[in-house]
């Protein structure tokens, strides 16, 4: 009985959570009139041709172009983030060194630093270096382990690996880097997957940074292209096309989340990292 009630409450909440997304998919296939006259998500006469227009977008480029742009940001960013975070976390988790406490306090500090304070001077700096409207301001920071939560998650995970593993490798003649590579890296794979997935999702979501740094439409990532389309589509005009673009824009994130879900949920819970 109690169990049934629990299922019931959970189901109601789940329905409320998921319905807007179902509605989005359904509404993209509806006519403009139907979008605003029915709450039910299944369209009466689904019109798939809207997706052709959506793919073409209202800009000179297709969605494919914006996807490619986004991936050109995601790829280096992910590689940079994984390498730098692993090295830094390894230093914190396994070695003793001068200024360690201070450095760790700094790590916590940067994690809680509101990005709004740092974004404007960085904009000015990138502009002086002549790097605005390139992907460097979006990708280069990842090389410096800029995402403190990744480092933190890795430290937690590495501390769970017995130090005896390292010592055994040491006796067999492994240096610090080889120990990291052959002993720790295989153990922290789930966290590396989490970092990859989160970098992917966060970059797909990021709006403010590209809004500030990227000015030419040709280089727009997906988020800015969506905004451009939503803004240039007036009231009562091709609403379903904007919704269809949104659906297309969400597919990569949903797919990546779906693929990685099993592997990376253990990673998030271990590190207390959140979306």
């Amino acid at each position: 009985m109690k169990k049934l009630l629990r299922y019931l409450i959970l189901t109601v909440i789940a329905a409320v959570m998921i319905y807007p997304l179902l509605w989005l998919v359904g509404a993209s296939l509806k006519s403009n009139d139907e979008i605003f006259s029915s709450a039910w998500f299944i369209p009466k006469n689904p019109d798939f041709s809207v997706y052709i227009g959506a793919w073409k977008t209202v800009t000179p480029y297709t969605m494919g172009h914006y996807f490619l742009n986004t991936f050109l940001i995601i790829l280096p960013k992910t590689i940079f983030a994984v390498i730098s975070s692993v090295l830094v976390a390894y230093g914190f988790a396994r070695f003793d060194f001068p200024l360690k406490k201070l450095s760790f306090a700094l790590l916590m500090g940067t994690m809680f630093m509101p990005s709004i304070v740092t974004v404007m001077p960085m904009y000015i700096l990138w502009s002086r270096l002549g790097l605005l409207d390139t992907y460097i301001p979006l990708t280069l920071p990842a090389l410096f382990a800029a995402e403190g939560s990744f480092v933190f998650m890795l430290i937690q995970f590495m501390k769970g690996i017995p130090k005896e593993f390292d010592e055994a490798a040491r006796i067999d003649g492994c240096g610090a880097l080889r120990t990291l590579f052959y002993i720790l890296l295989p153990c922290i794979k789930p966290v590396v997957v989490s970092i990859t997935v989160f970098t992917f999702l966060w970059t797909m979501n990021d709006f403010l940074t590209p809004l500030i740094m990227i000015s030419s439409v040709e280089k727009y990532p997906l988020s800015l292209a969506l905004r451009l389309s939503a803004d240039s589509t007036g009231d009562g005009y091709e609403q379903n096309r904007v919704l269809a673009m949104s659906v297309i824009g969400l597919i990569p994130s949903v797919a990546v989340f779906g693929l990685a879900q099993k592997k990376f949920v253990s990673g998030i819970t271990a590190g207390g990292l959140s979306g």
Partner: protein, 297 residues
């Protein structure tokens, strides 16, 4: 302290660790400390589009504190955080408690609750949310279905604020996941022992679960507060800050001053004001909950 010894694995000098974390240290200097200090200095100048910037001391801050626009946005932001954060904590903890049981298909529920939080910041979802609350949108359709009056969501300040709060509340999954993992760490024996002693499930929650979750609740409280006080995307895209500035957050004021009016000096002074406010709120939360910071590597 002078001749402190460093306990490192065989064959490792005391600077190896420092070398390993050097990317982080360089980043902290270049990407955090430099802009942090630079922002403060800019805030002391009248740096703008025209003319050579000059130091004007605390003039910007005087202007901020007497600016009606800023004071309104500060009120909007604080009220928004004060409503959203407790709601989000209650919902995420509540759902985590419901999920913290061995049930068939619980994983599917967890995914359903978690997905909005990873998609919620995506602009596609923000656009969707904007549609949901248009005059003929899903929200009003549902209101009609239940026999209520449809609302003009974008027309008045309370409704417009509600749109943003509902979007962020819909993303409670990230906080929930943190709660869920903390709940999993509570040994089952605690509750079993309490049951033997005749303790009901509600008392069990207040006597066992809640005290053990104190740290995690606090962590979520701080994380959510910091991000709520910086809110920008949702009001910028969904309500445009209206009506009558009732959803214009401090984050939006900063953005407008910097990138629309090009008042870099003033914008940075506003961002420092926000930073000081966030720090003050966080310290206040530390104080209220009787905590001192003690983090150890």
């Amino acid at each position: 302290m002078k001749n402190r010894t460093y306990h490192n694995p065989v064959g490792v000098g005391k600077y190896t660790g420092l070398l390993l974390i050097s990317p982080f240290l360089a980043g902290a200097l270049l990407l955090t400390l430099y802009p942090f200090v630079s922002s403060f200095i800019l805030g002391l100048t009248d740096c703008g589009l025209i003319g050579q910037p000059e130091l004007i001391g605390l003039e910007n801050y005087r202007e901020i504190l007497s600016s009606r626009e800023f004071l309104q946005s500060a009120g909007v932001t604080l009220r928004y955080a004060a409503i959203l954060v407790p709601l989000k904590l209650i919902v995420s903890l509540g759902v985590a408690l419901l999920l913290n049981i061995e049930l068939k298909g619980i994983g599917a529920y967890r995914t359903a609750f978690y997905i909005p939080s990873i998609l919620g910041a995506n602009l596609a979802v923000v656009i969707m949310w904007q549609f949901l609350f248009t005059s003929g949108g899903l929200a009003n359709q549902l209101l009609k279905l239940f026999g209520a009056q449809p609302a003009g969501w974008y027309g008045d300040s309370a409704h417009a604020t509600a749109i943003i709060i509902l979007l962020r509340l819909w993303e409670f999954g990230s906080a929930m996941v943190i709660f869920l993992s903390a709940l999993r760490d509570i040994p089952r024996e605690y509750h079993e022992a309490a049951k033997v002693d005749g303790c009901g499930s509600i008392r069990g929650f207040f006597a066992i679960t809640l005290p053990l979750l104190k740290d995690v609740i606090f962590l979520n409280l701080i994380l959510q507060t910091i991000s709520a006080l910086q809110e920008f995307n949702a009001p910028y895209m969904i309500t445009g800050g209206g009506p009558m500035g009732s959803t214009t957050t401090v984050g939006m004021v900063i953005y407008d001053e910097m990138f629309r009016y090009h008042n870099a000096g003033y914008a940075n002074a506003v961002s420092w004001t926000l930073f000081v406010t966030i720090t003050a709120v966080v310290l206040l939360l530390f104080k209220v909950t009787g905590r001192i910071r003690k983090e150890q590597p």
